[in-house]
């Protein structure tokens, strides 16, 4: 195996030069760790290749295709371990050097970037023109555009702006056979040809390797304010219902489990955390109206602006994503929005108020984080609850041993044949992230 890896590294070095290839011994420890968390066999000896251009990326994949090497696409590899466990990988292809901005059409509110560009770098460029990509994914400092698209990873802002799929206007990708293809375009409205942007969003690197993406961007909101309501589940449910049925236009409406509220020292009970981002007159009035709802329902009410607000959101994100001492288990969930509070109540109960939970109240999508102790039981219970409310539970991060005990994806529909055929058509030799996706795709 080791020898094989050496041969692969040599072949790739012949194509791209030594600076583009790194063998296992020379991979940073943190990245070794991410890769090991992704691949099941103990044989994690593999090399990483760093193409510098789209055409180099195409050359590498064409070579992998010829040699039938199993490829693991990665960006900066934060979420590399998300989803299924790979049976084996011959080469990891990193997009981290494909990080250029191709075109920022300021007046057209679009930006086209290479897949390895970090979202945080892109946001800094956009901010200079008063714009932003309306995504607040996990690991926002390191997440790359390709990784965000491949995992469909959006955050709280989806309340106003939608998911990754709603923002992606065009893509280029390298197919399994090494050919470069594209779909969509660089304009905000376009129906020419099939919408392969949607197909690739959330495909976890199984259909092709994304090389470029065009996003819709938005003007940065003038002002921002966050209202926090805390209390017992029933009152929080009522506040949520009132808010969603009102004419208020929040950009984020998040429900948080009791443990989150406790950990942040916000109070006692479940939390409803609502962000308004708009012109100043509007956010003031919207916050006031929501605070009134909270007071009427006897909830503990507070509101945040400026640095306090930024810090609050930072801490909320860390509750889910900060690395702990032990490996934790992180799941993505979905359910009908009306079941959201019941879901967090169940989480509180089965985790003895230790489970970290977040549900975006408008969409019913969310995240759960458990301590590994007794996690299998919790995950199983939460999954059947979500499924009984038209939803799902997918295990994103967990120790491999845990993932091997259950179906990580939790797909319960009847379109598997279709999905398998799509995979077969796009990647007939099954070289791209093999066996990592739904039903072993």
């Amino acid at each position: 195996m080791i020898q094989e890896t050496k041969a692969i590294a040599q072949t790739l070095t012949d194509i791209l030069g030594p600076a583009a290839v790194r063998d296992w011994e020379n991979i940073e420890v943190s990245q070794q760790k991410h890769i090991s968390e992704t691949v099941s066999s103990g044989t994690t000896s593999t090399c990483i290749v760093y193409p510098n251009t789209q055409s180099e990326l195409a050359q590498v994949i064409a070579c992998a295709y010829q040699q039938r090497w199993r490829v693991l696409p990665c960006g900066s590899s934060s979420k590399l371990s998300w989803g299924g466990v790979a049976k084996g990988v011959d080469v990891v292809i990193s997009t981290s050097r494909l990080n250029r901005v191709i075109e920022h059409a300021v007046g057209d509110l679009t930006i086209t970037v290479e897949a390895g560009a970090k979202l945080s770098d892109i946001q800094a460029i956009l901010a200079a023109s008063g714009q932003f990509i309306a995504l607040d994914p996990s690991y926002p400092q390191t997440a790359t555009i390709g990784g965000i698209v491949a995992t469909a990873d959006a955050g709280s802002l989806r309340q106003r702006y939608g998911g990754v799929r709603d923002m992606l206007l065009g893509i280029s990708f390298v197919r399994a056979d090494g050919q470069i293809a594209k779909a969509g375009g660089r304009v905000v409205k376009n129906v020419a040809g099939y919408d392969l942007m949607k197909l690739f969003t959330g495909s976890f690197g199984t259909l092709g390797m994304i090389s470029q993406a065009t996003f819709r961007v938005y003007p940065l909101p003038e002002a921002s304010q966050t209202v926090v309501l805390i209390g017992i589940g029933d009152a929080i449910a009522l506040a949520t219902k009132t808010l969603l049925a009102s004419a208020l236009t929040p950009t984020a409406v998040d429900l948080r489990s009791t443990a989150v509220v406790t950990n942040l020292g916000l109070g006692k009970g479940m939390g409803l955390i609502t962000r308004f981002q708009n012109i100043t007159e509007s956010i003031k009035q919207q916050s006031t109206r929501l605070l009134e709802v909270g007071q009427t329902l006897g909830l503990q009410c507070s509101s945040y602006t400026g640095n306090d607000e930024a810090e609050l959101w930072q801490k909320l994100a860390e509750q889910i994503w900060a690395s702990g001492q032990e490996p934790e288990i992180i799941c993505k969930i979905g359910m009908l929005p009306t079941a959201a509070v019941a879901t967090l109540t169940l989480l509180d109960n089965i985790s003895h108020q230790q489970g970290i939970g977040l549900i975006h109240a408008g969409s019913g999508l969310g995240l759960l984080r458990f301590n590994p102790e007794n996690a299998l039981n919790c995950v199983t219970k939460m999954r059947s609850h979500c499924q009984s409310h038209s939803g799902f539970l997918t295990v994103l991060e967990a120790p491999i041993s845990f993932k091997q005990q259950l179906d990580v994806w939790g797909y319960s529909g009847n379109a598997l044949d279709l999905m398998r055929q799509i995979k077969q058509q796009f990647d007939p030799e099954n070289i791209l992230s093999p066996h990592r996706f739904v039903a072993g795709i």
Binding site: G130, V187, V191, L199, T249, V438
Partner: protein, 490 residues
Amino acid sequence: MIIQEKQQINWQPIIKQFEDVVGKNGVVQRREELLTYECDGLTSYRQRPAVVVLPRTTEQVAEAVKICDRNQIPWVARGAGTGLSGGALPVENCVLIVTALMKKILEIDLENQRVVVQPGVINNWVTQAVSGAGFYYAPDPSSQIVCSIGGNVAENSGGVHCLKYGVTTNHVLGLKLVLPDGSIVDVGSSVPEMPGYDITGLFVGSEGTLGIATEITLRILKTAESICVLLADFTNIEAAGASVSDIIGSGIIPAGMEIMDNLSINAVEDVVATGCYPRDAAAILLVEVDGLEVEVAANKKRIAEICTKNGARSITTANDLETRLKLWKGRKAAFAAAGHMSPDYYVQDGVIPRTQLSFVLQEIENLSQKYGYRIANVFHAGDGNLHPLILYDNSVPGALEKVEELGGDILKLCVKVGGSLSGEHGIGADKKCYMPEMFTEIDLETMQWVRQVFNPKGLANPGKIFPTPRTCGEAANAQSAKQFESVERF
């Protein structure tokens, strides 16, 4: 050999099978009754189907599709037939599966803001069904009082309010599909981002080439507290375009922004006689803003200032529903009005980067003069989606060909400046030969992979979207056509 196959179809036993599924009333086969189904909104292309089937349920659709599959008969889905790209245009010896009887709203879940409908439900019925409770369905094509949700899904239709809230695809959560082999699958759900590939997103905009949607789960939105429409009129169209850029540049995202030029202003004034668009204006700009009252008031003021700065002669605003509808009425009647101005019109819907507006309008004017046809321009200015209406007389021999050539030049222009062939009407039969302007052979081959998965025998809506050597000559790319020979048998 294939041609022989076609001639050998013995329709009577097949029609009997359809009748067994949908009853005698659900099958149309008399020549004069079939006339209605010869074309969609692109009336210059016509082809009579062999038979029309009108199912009422998913199971009936599945059975009808299976009959086609067993007998190797091509079929085309049709909703209300208002499509403007020939998407529902029949092919020779085909079965047309029409969803006109599938008109039930199956479920309304206000609290979860979801509605489940059958595909034949008319677009504005959805809003009507939920407006009492303060909700609406956002995508609002101008044809909304007649077009079907199934057709909207297939075309990924847009409307004048899609600038802020997105087009059809942003509002479809799940679908029940009958695939071309007659199997039934559910994709998406009432919850977004279910595990697995986003087949819902892939299906929306696939123009009836991947199967038939028989149940559609839609997202509905809460009606804004306050809505205001501004009408500004300008003595030159560039100033209207500049106002659009400045509004966007100022950080405001209106619900919609529309421009009409002098020719279309006069056309609608003639027809619907609204009396609110000044006939001597070079262009009018309609802007709708919504949100909280304070927000609408502030944005209204800023937009009015921007328009004035760009030379608007006058600005009218309306907050109440009745006046707002009146201001929109002319815009929504623009296509119909074009039909009154001239015996025929041909509409395109290319998209350009908003910032190229002035340049492209000038080029369109040049093309109009070069070809000698008048062109009325109405467009979704906020997202750069143009609708040049080329006025002509189809009874003049050769006119249609000329007009199509002119339309083609406009599309090439849109692609050249970085835009797209179509913003909302679809490629259909109409624009497929221009696809190579926008996509490489590899791009098209990759899209054909998708079609190959869903529609391996090519029976579902053949001859649409993708260029073929037979209809497009050299424009079609030889390689992928060869690989997908089976698809183009009909």
